[in-house]
């Protein structure tokens, strides 16, 4: 290598020996936490016998059901027509926390078990791909 190229070479590597580790480390603290797949439970096949509330919200009918003993609750959704979004995740928001309980796909009847203690849940249908809420229903 000619002396100017050698000098350029030395300068480049002195720069890289500092910049590369810094750049590498800079991606660490802001590192996204790994994708945690929330355990979305499969729809239940049978309806719980006690109907607590029902709401008709255009393309959806939502029923809040519970078992005879009142210890378990269930969200029943009748999807009349599909959403125009690539994903439709059913989330329950209660007391500041949001939890995914299931997915809606083709029109039909879906039944999802609800966390213990769910009383008046706010049901959100979320398009997870684009990160926006498609529909919100207070049960």
């Amino acid at each position: 290598m000619t002396p100017p190229l050698r000098r350029a070479h030395r300068f480049i590597w002195l720069l890289l020996v500092v910049a590369l580790p810094l750049g590498f480390l800079a991606t660490r603290p802001t590192k996204q936490s790994p994708w945690l797949q929330e355990p979305v439970l499969p729809p239940q096949s049978t309806a719980m016998p006690v109907l607590l509330r029902t709401i008709d919200a255009d393309s959806l009918v939502l029923n809040l059901r519970q078992s005879v003993r009142g210890t378990e609750r269930q969200l029943e959704i009748l999807l009349k027509q599909p959403f125009e979004t690539p994903s439709a995740v059913v989330c329950i928001r209660q007391e500041g926390s949001r939890r995914a309980v299931g997915l809606l796909n083709a029109p039909g009847l879906y039944r999802f078990p609800l966390p213990t203690g769910t009383n008046r849940p706010l049901v959100e249908i979320v398009d997870d791909v684009h990160g926006r809420t498609v529909k919100t229903v207070q049960l």
């Binding site: 000619t2 350029a8 590369l20 590498f24 991606t27 994708w35």
Partner: protein, 352 residues
């Protein structure tokens, strides 16, 4: 040396080099794919190809980048340098396979043009920590493509060694882009610190060796600063130079290789006409200065390649007074014959 261009001037060393390289690459791919298939049974063929080629190309790039400094630090690594261009082109091909499969897998199944999708599927261009990693890989591949396409001696001759070498130093930019491509890509999803640790070791090894070679190489060169006498500068003691070897000097901005052979001393430019290789790190073979990089040869007395080859390098006048060697740093035109300094006790007055 070449009288004319041909796609590849094969010889035994090149065949051996390429066969070893191809064998190691095949071995890596076989082991990697077998492990992936057994450890992750539901994995698809496309994913295996993407993973195998990405890791292989990244590993090859590290090997390519450490060859240069290793050769400067220890001559025993010089055989690795001999056909490094084939290693570089092979690495580009592996990286290109990775890119093609990645684009096919992740960007061709939507209703957006694959290239547009590559640049728009991640949009956080304003964030450093979540900067889109795929465009970085795209630009790195573009650089590697230009380098692979111009790796032949045709381009070296037509672009001139200085321009060609400058162009090929863009591999360092490509390396930086690829490091960030990996750091912002797969390492963002990997929870195991092993992968991040391995890359950290790789980055520190490559950059550390380059910095070390730059400083040690600079220290090895003689930088005589004594005042000139009759245009000549005292550079070293004759016993400092091993037989059939050279000392490299940097005098008045001239990069000079001072060779000792057959009881004589000759000085020529330290830059090989081929790729500006360091002639002073080579040795005299069959009476010719032989470049350690690719074996180009020059006669020490006149800086000319032996017939039928036509390459020529600058020559310098040399004197030996007592055991002190004097060199005139004014270069003579390439190929100008110079009388070698004989290793006997003389004085400057004797010579005048």
């Amino acid at each position: 040396m070449a009288l004319h261009y041909s796609p590849v001037l094969w010889n035994r060393q090149k065949r051996l080099y390429d066969l070893t390289m191809a064998g190691l690459m095949a071995l890596y791919l076989i082991i990697f794919c077998t492990l992936q298939t057994s450890l992750f049974p539901p994995i698809t063929t496309e994913t295996i190809v993407i993973r195998a080629t990405s890791t292989l190309a990244f590993l090859m790039l590290h090997v390519i980048l450490v060859i240069g400094p290793l050769c400067r630090l220890d001559n025993r690594f010089l055989p690795l340098l001999y056909n490094r261009r084939h290693l570089g082109v092979s690495m580009f091909i592996v990286a290109a396979v990775h890119s093609v499969f990645s684009v096919l897998q992740f960007h061709t199944r939507g209703d957006v043009d694959p290239l547009v999708s590559l640049f728009t599927s991640e949009r956080q261009y304003g964030s450093f920590g979540q900067f889109p990693f795929q465009p970085l890989g795209f630009f790195a591949l573009l650089i590697l493509f230009v380098m692979a396409a111009t790796s032949h001696d045709f381009w070296l001759k037509n672009l001139s060694p200085r321009v060609w070498k400058t162009l090929h130093m863009s591999v360092y930019l490509a390396y930086a882009l690829i490091v960030m491509h990996v750091a912002l890509g797969i390492l963002q999803q990997e929870t195991s610190p092993v992968y991040a640790g391995l890359m950290g070791v790789g980055v520190l090894t490559v950059s550390g060796l380059h910095v070390m070679a730059a400083f040690i190489g600079n220290r090895r060169e003689l930088h005589p600063n004594a005042p000139a006498t009759d245009g000549f500068v005292a550079v070293c003691d004759v016993n400092d130079i091993a037989d059939n070897r050279a000392k490299t000097l940097m005098v008045n901005g001239q990069n000079i290789a001072l060779f000792k052979y057959d009881g004589k001393l000759s000085a020529v430019s330290n830059l090989c006409r081929h790729q500006n290789g360091p002639l002073g790190e080579g040795k005299i073979i069959d009476g010719c200065i032989t470049c350690p990089w690719h074996g180009y040869q020059y006669l020490p007395e006149n800086g000319q390649s032996p017939p039928p080859f036509t390459e020529k390098i600058e020559t310098y006048a040399v004197r030996c007074v007592g055991t002190t060697v004097w060199v005139n740093p004014q270069p003579y035109p390439p190929g100008t014959p110079q009388t070698p300094a004989l290793l006997k006790v003389t004085t400057i007055n004797d010579e005048n």
